[in-house]
C-alpha cells in the first residue's frame, strides 16, 4: 500500500494523521513490523540542533531621509557584507566583532535580532547623486527593518566524521577541545533522529521542502555547499562521513532563541547552533524502512583533526553515545556537540505542529543532485 503527500495532507487537515518521531518509529516497527507500521504511520519527524557555521542572515534596513547607499556596514560592531543594493546586507555567523573579537560575532547578532533586541547599525558610503548621505548611525530591530531572513548555505550535514587528536598537545577545533594522545572523541549528529539520515537518498527531501528552522518555518532553498552524495557508504547504504547537505532559508521573525543560539569554540571561532526538523512522509514500506534506522546501524569515520595520522576506524552511534569507545586498546570518552536533548524537542515540536494541522507537508519542487563531485582548491600561479 502506498500513500501520496496530498493524501497525507488531507489526513493532517482532518486531524487524522498519525505522526511519530524518528525515535518512536523504531519501537513501532519492532512491535508491529514494517508492513503494518507503514500503513498506520503517515509522517515521521526528525530533528537536529548542532553547530552550523555556514549560516547567515539577509536584512533590508529600509531607506533613511536623505537616503544612503551603504558600502561599509557593521551591526553591533560586527561587519556585514553590503556589496548589494543600497540597504541590503548579509551578516555571516562566523564574522568576528571589530571591538570584542571572538567573544561576540555574527551569530550573536543573529541571536540578538531574534531576541528582539535593538542592534547598533553603522554604515558608510561614498555618496551619490541619488544617495547623498555618507554615513548613518542608528538602531534597528527585527520589527523596524524590512525583510530579515536566515539564508544558510550549508546546514544539516548527512552524517559527520567524529574527531580525535593524535598529537601530544591539546588542540582547539570546530569539533571542540580535543585532548592529547587520543584523549577524547567528539561527534556531531543526532544519529537516528538526523534529518538526512532518515531519507538517505533524498526521495522526499528536495528543493522547496518545508521544514522546522530555528523554531519557525523554513524551506530547502538549494543543495547545500559541499553537497557530497557520493561519499563512501556502509553496506546499508548510509554514508560513513559528511555527505548530503542542505541550503536553508527562513524568516527570522518566526524564530526563537530556544532553537537558534550563538556559540564560541575556544581558540577556533564563532558558530551558530541551528535547530532543524524535517518531516518525512511515509509513502510506502520502503520509505518507512529508511526512517526506522537505529544508532547502531549508522557508522561514521574517526578523523585525526591534527591532520597528522590517517585513521581508518569506523564507529557506530550506539557506541559513541555510550560515552566511551575503545581506541587502540584504550578506553576513550566520547562527547556529542549536537544537542540530542534539543534535537528530540525539535522532532516533538514538529510532530505537534503537524498533529494540530498548522504544518502541511510539501512536494519537493526539484530533486537534490544524486551525484556531485566535490572539488579541492588548487593553488595555481
Amino acid at each position: 500500500m502506498s500513500k501520496t503527500i496530498s493524501e497525507i495532507n488531507e489526513k493532517i487537515k482532518e486531524g487524522k494523521a498519525v505522526v511519530v518521531t524518528a525515535e518512536e518509529v523504531i519501537d513501532l516497527v519492532e512491535r508491529d513490523g514494517y508492513k503494518k507500521t507503514a500503513e498506520t504511520v503517515d509522517v515521521v519527524t526528525t530533528g537536529t540542533f548542532g553547530p552550523m557555521c555556514s549560516s547567515g542572515m539577509f536584512v533590508n534596513f529600509g531607506h533613511s531621509k536623505p537616503p544612503i547607499k551603504m558600502t561599509k556596514v557593521t551591526l553591533n560592531d560586527v561587519p556585514a557584507y553590503a556589496g548589494l543594493a543600497a540597504v541590503d546586507a548579509y551578516i555571516g555567523a562566523t564574522e568576528l566583532s571589530l571591538k570584542r573579537g571572538m567573544e561576540y560575532g555574527g551569530a550573536h547578532v543573529i541571536e540578538d535580532f531574534i531576541a528582539g533586541k535593538d542592534i547598533l547599525l553603522q554604515a558608510e558610503s561614498y555618496g551619490t547623486d541619488c544617495y547623498p548621505r555618507k554615513e548613518i548611525t542608528t538602531k534597528v530591530n527585527k520589527d523596524n527593518v524590512n525583510q530579515i531572513f536566515l539564508f544558510n548555505p550549508r546546514n544539516c550535514y548527512q552524517n559527520y566524521a567524529a574527531a580525535t587528536n593524535s598529537t601530544n598537545k591539546t588542540i582547539y577545533t570546530y569539533m571542540g577541545t580535543l585532548l592529547p594522545n587520543y584523549g577524547n572523541v567528539t561527534y556531531s549528529t543526532s544519529g537516528e533522529l538526523s534529518p538526512l539520515l532518515n531519507d538517505p537518498e533524498f526521495r522526499t527531501i528536495g528543493i522547496g521542502t518545508r521544514l522546522f528552522l530555528g523554531g519557525g518555518v523554513g524551506y530547502v532553498a538549494w543543495e547545500g555547499t559541499q553537497h557530497n552524495p557520493d561519499q563512501a557508504k556502509s553496506e546499508n547504504g548510509l554514508p560513513v562521513a559528511g555527505a548530503g547537505t542542505l541550503s536553508l532559508i527562513g524568516d527570522i521573525r518566526g524564530m526563537s532563541t530556544e532553537f537558534i543560539r550563538a556559540g564560541v569554540f575556544q581558540k577556533y571561532g564563532i558558530t551558530l547552533y541551528v535547530g532543524v526538523g524535517i518531516p518525512i512522509p511515509i509513502l510506502d514500506e520502503e520509505m518507512l524502512a529508511k526512517t526506522a534506522i537505529k544508532n547502531k546501524d549508522i557508522y561514521t569515520r574517526i578523523v585525526d583533526k591534527s591532520g597528522k595520522v590517517d585513521l581508518d576506524i569506523l564507529v557506530n552511534y550506539e557506541e559513541l553515545r555510550s560515552g566511551q569507545i575503545s581506541l587502540f586498546g584504550k578506553k576513550v570518552s566520547t562527547a556529542p556537540l549536537t544537542s540530542l536533548y534539543k534535537s528530540r524537542i525539535i522532532a516533538e515540536k514538529l510532530k505537534g505542529w503537524i498533529l494540530n494541522g498548522s504544518f502541511l507537508l510539501t512536494e519537493k519542487v526539484c530533486d537534490l543532485p544524486a551525484h556531485n563531485k566535490v572539488n579541492t582548491l588548487e593553488v595555481r600561479g
Partner: protein, 142 residues
Amino acid sequence: MKKIKITFEFPPNSIKQPLTYRLIKDFDLMLNILSADVSLNRTGRLTMDMQGEEDMLEAALDWVKKQGISFKIFEKEVIWNEDKCIHCGACTAVCPSGALSLDNETWKLTFDREKCLICELCIQTCPLGVMGLNGDNASLDT
C-alpha cells in the same frame, strides 16, 4: 561540621606518614578521594573532600604543614547556568572527573558538584558560555 575541597601536593619521596590514615584516625575526618596521582620519585597530587569539626580541620591542616606537604583549598566553585544550557555535551569531552555527564535517557547534562575538581576546563570549552566560577566559598587559610 565543615566540608572543604583540598588538593595536597607531596614532594618526591618525602612522605613518611600514611596521610589519609592519620587524618581519619587523629582528626576524626571523613575523606572522599576525588583524584589521586601518586608515584615514586615524582611530585604527587591528591584531591579530596574533607569533612569534620572546624577545629579538627584546622588542627589537621597544621599537622599536614609540619609534614612538609603543601596544599590548596578550593575557594571557588564551578557554577552552571542551567537555564541557558543547550545540553550539547561539549563540556563532557574535557571534564576529567566525570562530574559533567549526559544522562543517557534524557540526554540532559548533569553536574555532580561532589566530583568537580574545579579544573575550569569546562568554562573555557563551553561554546555557550554557561559555565563560570563563583568565588564566595572561601574557607580556611592555607
